[in-house]
Amino acid sequence: MANFETIVVETDLLILGGGMAACGAAVEAAHWARQNGLKVTLVDKAAVDRSGAVAMGLSAINQYVGLRDGKNTVKDYVDYVRNDLMGVTREDLVANIARHVDSTVHLFEKWGLPIWKDENGNYVHEGRWQLMINGESYKVVVAEAAKNALLAGNGKAVGEIYERIFIVGPLMDGERCAGAVGFSVREEKFYVFKAKATLVAMGGAVHVFKPRSSGEGMGRAWYPPWNSGSSAYFTLKAGAEMTCQEVRFIPVRFKDAYGPVGAWFLLFKSRATNAMGGEYMVERRAELENWAPYGRVKPIPANLRNYLGMLDVMEGKGPIYMRTEEAIKKIATTYKDDDKAYKKKMKELESEAWEDFLDMTISQAILWAGTNVQPEERSSEIAAAEPYFIGSHSGASGAWVSGPEDLQTDETKKEYFWGYAHMSTVPGLFCAGDASGASSHKFSSGSHAEGRAAAKAAVKFVVDNNTMPNLDAAALEALKEQILRPLDVYEQFKGATTDPEVNPNYIKPRMYMYRLQKLMDEYAAGITAQFTTNESLLNKALELLAFLKEDAEKLAASNLHELMRCWENVHRTWQAEAHVRTLLFREETRWPGYYYRADKPKIDDEQWHVFANCKYHPNTDQWEVLTRPILHIFPQPKEHELLGG
């Protein structure tokens, strides 16, 4: 076996990941840990300053309820999320995030994040729930507060941060989560983190499906290439029940560079039209009736908006254009009688439009500059990206976690509460952000807020269960052997060929990834399949996934970087399998702009107004797929309220 030193770290609360949810968890945990004399350890595969989906920056905070202004209520947010997810949402979880998220946003502002203000000092809203920010350093600021919370304290730090450690999987003590194992991508060290409670916040997954670009541009997926399904793998392998694994997210964005469209639709009120000038949102309105009652709500659910555009494209009416020139002119015409004011407004709008890209999708700015696009002069194409797993955004995949006790009714409590908020079905294993499911639309701010709520509950768990779990030394050694195996496989067989990439004894992580992407694309409703699948195709996907999983034993790595790539792709494979099994299980089409089951082409609220959950049983190596009821904690809105009346 490769000769790696084993480093054992013992801690009370282990936070896995360093993104929005993990930074929220760190800030919160530090406070309660200090009060209770506990230690907190955070581990990230990258540098916390610039890791996760917010590494580049963002131009908007997408969840702010504004409770203090009295305009919206917690229930309003829950209604919005449930409708957007076609009725499939855990109200208790969404409400828990919604009641805390404003506090998190107000902290961001204190920490130094510039939030746009109007002349009266109020936040500038992009839409009802969204705030405009100057967000280039969003992650830097949020990470700074987390680091200050954990590491400062005049020599009495409550925590420690490990960077560049790739977490592979869970450590278990019987049914209880006992920490995590991983390795350094910088030096030959194998890490064992023993913990009384573990909080998973390692983001969602990309590159499970074939991306639209196949050359250099492959890295420019909408979702950042460094989040590879580690949260899903970790929770599945621990034996945790998962939910909404079928609810992938497909964003419609500016074509190819995937620049954001939120500001264009919401702030600039732009229209999207097809090649003939037709507006699919108007021309195809009747189609929405087929997806009632959700087709009737306002705002129209994201997947249905996608779907109407996709119908245009499939009928050959593409490209679909964002009418940027029209939108900008319309705003500026208010000033048309005052030449100076008009010019000033145009300049301001131009700067806002470019900042939107430069803050969060710089590639889109390069693409515009490379094709000489000035948005005030010319429209730009938009298109559906490939499928991603991001439970914090408009997808919903993640672990099935307990809600808080005080947000349950007598009825929901039996189904949705088991002691600690945001704890999975595995004792001691907590999840937040993309790692927890059925609570979408938390975005950057809500993920941070959920990380905080989960961390507080996890500290409570440690106080109530203050014993260090036991680890079996032989099992640990076996894990180490398994995790380092790709290095051994490479060393053992590299001599069999003059080309290290082509060898009959092993597969390199890149080709392994291409194999996964091709099978998911073709059989599990990827882009080339127009997001369409059926039972036979899905069964074929499972058959090919089984071969792939066997070949995962033959992954080969020539260095630490490749070892990380090997494990990232194993993580993706498990995310893929959970997805395919749940697609197969849910015998209806509920989110047509995300995927379409051609053999079950209609929504079936009678049978399928339920959560589809799945679970991997580590002891028997079996999967189980099951339903859980959708219960409400708030009275349901009447149809006229759904319509915005």
Partner: protein, 146 residues
């Protein structure tokens, strides 16, 4: 090529034990060639063009050339990041130049105080998070139970 390194400007971060670009890349892409002591992007197909290596390089050696499989040549976006703002120069294929400046933070670097100055009266059993309810701007945290 996504991010690439200008060999004339890169000094390998003076051979300190870790280079700035290597430290910051969220995808572990920037590596140092131990012979030339110059940095390089080891896998351009996995680069998000997040510009973190560009922004952090002390010698401005890292630049980005748009993805060649869909971006026509000749354009660039170049940042200059200071402690409180960022200045962008966007160069078009046709030669047009645009400049933009945006604020990036309102507090001095390093000084984000975790509690933001809000008090934390709650205890471990209550639904209130630390800094709440003050940081909500409300007298109490929303609950269904009273």
């Amino acid at each position: 090529m996504p991010s690439y390194v200008n060999p004339e400007k890169c000094d390998g971060c003076k051979a300190l034990d870790k280079t700035a670009c290597q430290h910051i890349c969220p995808n572990d892409l920037m590596a140092l060639d131990k012979v030339t002591m110059k940095a390089y992007n080891r896998d351009v197909t996995m680069c998000w063009e997040c510009y973190n290596c560009v922004k952090i390089c002390p010698t401005q050696a890292v630049e980005v050339r748009g993805y060649a499989d869909f971006v026509p040549l000749g354009a660039s976006a170049t940042p200059m990041r200071s402690t409180d703002s960022i200045m962008w120069t966007v160069k078009f294929r046709n030669g047009t130049i645009k400049r933009f400046k945006f604020p990036i933070r309102t507090t001095p670097e390093g000084e984000a105080a975790p509690d933001g100055g809000f008090e934390s009266p709650a205890d471990l059993a209550s639904p209130a998070l630390f800094t709440e309810p003050a940081s909500l701007g409300l007298p109490e945290v929303f609950t269904l139970k009273h």
